[in-house]
Symmetry: D2
Subunit: 341 residues, 4 copies
């Protein structure tokens, strides 16, 4: 009953197998190896386009911050939800990597930027007024920090609005697989076809040891040289890059990443139902992916903890339960047993 | 005959075994796991002290830059050799992580800072003169960028000089194992006992997939909180830290890292002798570790290349050959065969 | 009828006279001159203490950003009002100077931080949680961006709260003279005696050409060396510093600065009354200093503009009118004439 | 006999007169005033072109650092002489403003970059090699830090070389007036016509209170918006900009700046002759401008000091004497008297 985080789960066996599979012989350092090439080809196939460049990191914080620094100058700002991971949980990484850019925060229910607030923020931009810090980037997160999913349409709508106002669109996809499964969307439809210019695609929470992709689409590819230089000086160009690539290959092959995400989502649904079946529990947010945010009676919290369940209290008074590829039927069953005892 | 770099070598099988060994069950994220604890205990044993704090990264560039940023304010400078890795090969990482500190370069033969030049630089420090950028750190590298090793005594002497002048001492130990073997020194003697305040200890080139340790000794431990915060915002706090720790454990256990380094050093000696036995070859620098820098006749270069040997031309006209744990008897034999044919 | 800004006003004649007065002979550069010494003595007298260090800049943005960078590490954040000048109107200067620190925004009426929100923010600090960016500074502004004044008591209360939670207190006093006059407070009482650790004291808006003081009190004096180094590398150590010092001397002598502020405040009161006497006008905020924020009927706005009055529309629908030392009886009279015509 | 620095001299009376001249009435803040317009027109006339944008600062350090940050990304480096002011005397300002770019140092006699070394550095650039930090800017200084002047031809030659290799050319003209007079060159010929892309033109050392111009020529004008934003966030957009503009107007009108520089240069020649006429003195560098670097017998140094002369010892064993617009016939006469007594 460990629902503490999908980052506490181990890596999927296929990932370790893939790593072992590339661990022979010499390979050019810094991304010139054949595994990276294979991964890129796999990704192209999934994206339905070759009009992209990709870089790998072992850290989601780095992936987001590098992506943002590549598209936001130090004198500008990044529009994002006020509870976005880049604002709340990355210790100022975007500010650091960008050289002091600002995050401009927007409210909205369920971790999703409110449409009207976004419009207003766009309308208020005055690039000629040197004293304010105008946004050049809109950063969306899918799954959001509340475990909800933007629809592909909503992403497309917001991206259009951003483009009309001269902004570049970044998608923080630390749990993108869960969002894709939830929205029955393809990777292509939810990213470049919806207007996403720069994607950070996380695989760590899905089942990797540590593997995140930064993808620059179309016109943004012109920034790839800069991105690589920034990755290098930030220590995100590990010499033996083949081990990162191997993880991505393992998860993309046969769409294992989507399979694992579907499973985690499914368990989250079951867990939500189980928890709510107990009296007095209410969901804090809709459960679109692999996370359940739920207001629980104190007694229920106590009984779960006593039985050894792991989960975190969350700002706002709810508790967060996260399912992962490693969650098992038994975990849900144990919760059910505790609650019905 | 791949002598291109110790970073092109695969990871040692023990490393992968260790990773597989920790890949079960949930583990607290971000370094609170038991593997990290085990590694710390192992390290304490090797260092002969518990008066240190340690952080893990997957990148040597990051390890150096984080270490330096923790001890050098943005308004100060770092004394180092003019060919130091932090100056030449890290794309401005120290400047980036520190917020714009400067590197102050010192010359010296064989990649080692000249004693007299160091004294002079120390003597010229005027901390009251606000226009110049005074050094607060002396950064040494062992092995140096020329593959030579500082003796423990020399490190101690330079550290004393640094301390007398108010500087903190950093040791870039990307190939420290090779230096320890070469100088028949213990880890304790060449680091904190010699006056090193902050150590970056690399295991990647020795045989890891990607694992580097930043060690703060004694009084510098007060900066550990700051170091962790910097690691976090730089994306060097990967959630599943156990996989980094496992690599360190594998290499420290039974002193595997020293065994592998000794082997690489030994092959480098054999390679140097083999190359020099051929007419017209002269060593550019003494061969103290696992790297051979050698001036070769063009014809020899051509014959080696034709036979499939991999090695790089080096600034100054020599060529660099690097041995690693994966170098085999046969590799040296093949070189010998080419040269004698 | 130019109420556009106190920064569009010329310098007070006494300021130019003082500049001319020091414009003879050679003077040591970079603050070692006798004018800077005189200014410091004058300031000590006004502050009723010698336990401070002071640095001069020509820019309020620089004064704030340098002050904040000296007390906020890049890995931390600064608590301030969501409409604070440092957040809204300085193009990311605090982020730039600090190396990427964050501003954490607090709401509150009339440009003043809400007490309850401040308490809550303090209570939520968890310095051991490395992922969030904890505040190390509370920055207050007096006058606020809404032209209101914090009382000395309120500043003292907030400063106590900050100190109890380990924060340093910064006061942005771009219009401090107006606040002092409004609150009938002494400089000492509203600053170090109330718990302010670092003060930026603006004279530009009061009547200087360009002159702002950064004052470090008590324990914060240990950061003065760092502050000077930061000023130097930011280009805020102009060689001929005597011309900055002369401006300060002119305004402090015989408390000219307070006299000018009192006059501007007085005209602002008259202007507010005049505007409100016209039907349909309501003050957006209380008028504590030299600024009037007022909701005006469109027709009134039009008539004023037609008559040549200068003033700015303000976020939220009001208009801002600023009085300065250069505002004259006639300016108010003209407004009265327009409105009553 | 104050030869300590041209920055210890007062401002020329015409400068103060000009400041007083604009000190009436309201003026738009931040550079939208008519004085700035007048200055721009004057400058266009001197430059013989309108194809430029200009920004004003009160600090030479800021002017250089802003100019460099506008043309050098954080991931790149700036080629300059190893004794350049931006390397030696600005406390890391270029590194700070650029977000961590590096300075790459070149040797050369008399403070001038050696032609052969420059060619070699250009030849070694490999923009595809991500680990090194390639230069994107060549920064020249005229007068150099040794008081010598590059000829217009030399600047043109070096600029051509830079352009051929994809670099932008920056000229640090803190003492440009002295160089122009020395080389009998026009401002146009020594700057944009010679290939200079970005100029920092100093007037402070020539006779201003504090006034430096950053001029972007031709294609570099596209960076003007970015430059202004950087100036704003660095606190180099003082509200009452008219006082900076007035200083420039005073010095450009009737070419007062060149007249003052010519006078200072002339006195430096006389001083050099006077000093060398005394036995045992030798010039350290040719005297092209208003600075004399001279190796003096200890006894001479002592006698001058005893007589109240002010001048600084210089690295390398010489002493520096600086003449300025405020140097008088008598100052030279007094030196002569001391030496011949």
């Amino acid at each position: 009953m460990d629902f503490s985080s999908d980052t506490s789960a181990p890596a999927h066996p296929a990932v370790l197998q893939a790593i072992a599979g590339v661990n022979h012989g010499y390979a050019p350092s810094y991304g010139a190896d054949s595994s990276t090439e294979t991964l890129t080809a796999l990704l192209a196939n999934k994206l339905g386009t070759e009009d992209f460049d990709v870089w790998l990191t072992a850290s989601g914080t780095a992936a987001n911050a590098l992506a943002l620094a590549a598209i936001c100058p130090p004198t500008a700002s990044i529009l994002c939800h006020e509870e976005a991971h880049i604002e709340r949980d990355e210790r100022g990484a975007p500010e650091f990597f960008s050289g002091g850019a600002k995050l401009a925060l927007l409210p909205g229910e369920n971790g999703q930027i409110d449409r009207e607030q976004l419009r207003r923020a766009m309308g208020a931009i005055d690039r000629s007024f040197v004293h304010e810090t105008p946004p050049t980037v809109l950063s969306l997160t899918n799954l959001t920090e509340c475990g909800t999913a933007y629809s592909t349409d909503r992403i497309g709508e917001y991206a259009d609005l951003a483009h009309e106002n001269g902004l570049t669109v970044h998608l923080d996809g630390a749990r993108l697989a869960n969002a894709l499964v939830s929205q029955r969307a393809t990777l292509a439809d939810m990213t470049w076809r919806a207007g996403v210019d720069v994607l950070t695609l996380g695989l760590t929470k899905t089942g990797a040891m540590g593997c995140e992709l930064i993808v620059l689409f179309g016109a943004q590819r012109s920034r790839f040289g800069d991105l690589r230089a920034r990755a290098k000086r930030a220590g995100h160009m590990p010499p033996k890059l083949r081990y990162l690539a191997a993880q991505g290959i393992a998860l993309f092959q046969d769409d294992l990443w989507l399979e694992l995400a579907a499973q985690a989502n499914c368990f989250a649904q079951q867990l939500a139902e189980t928890l709510c079946a107990a009296g007095g529990a209410t969901l804090a947010y809709p459960v679109d992916g692999n996370e359940v945010f739920v207001h629980l009676p104190k007694t229920v919290v106590g009984r779960l903890r006593d039985a050894g369940a792991k989960f975190y209290p969350w700002p706002g008074g709810s508790h967060r339960f996260v399912c992962s590829w490693a969650t098992m039927e038994d975990d849900i069953g144990s919760v059910r047993a505790v609650l019905s005892s």
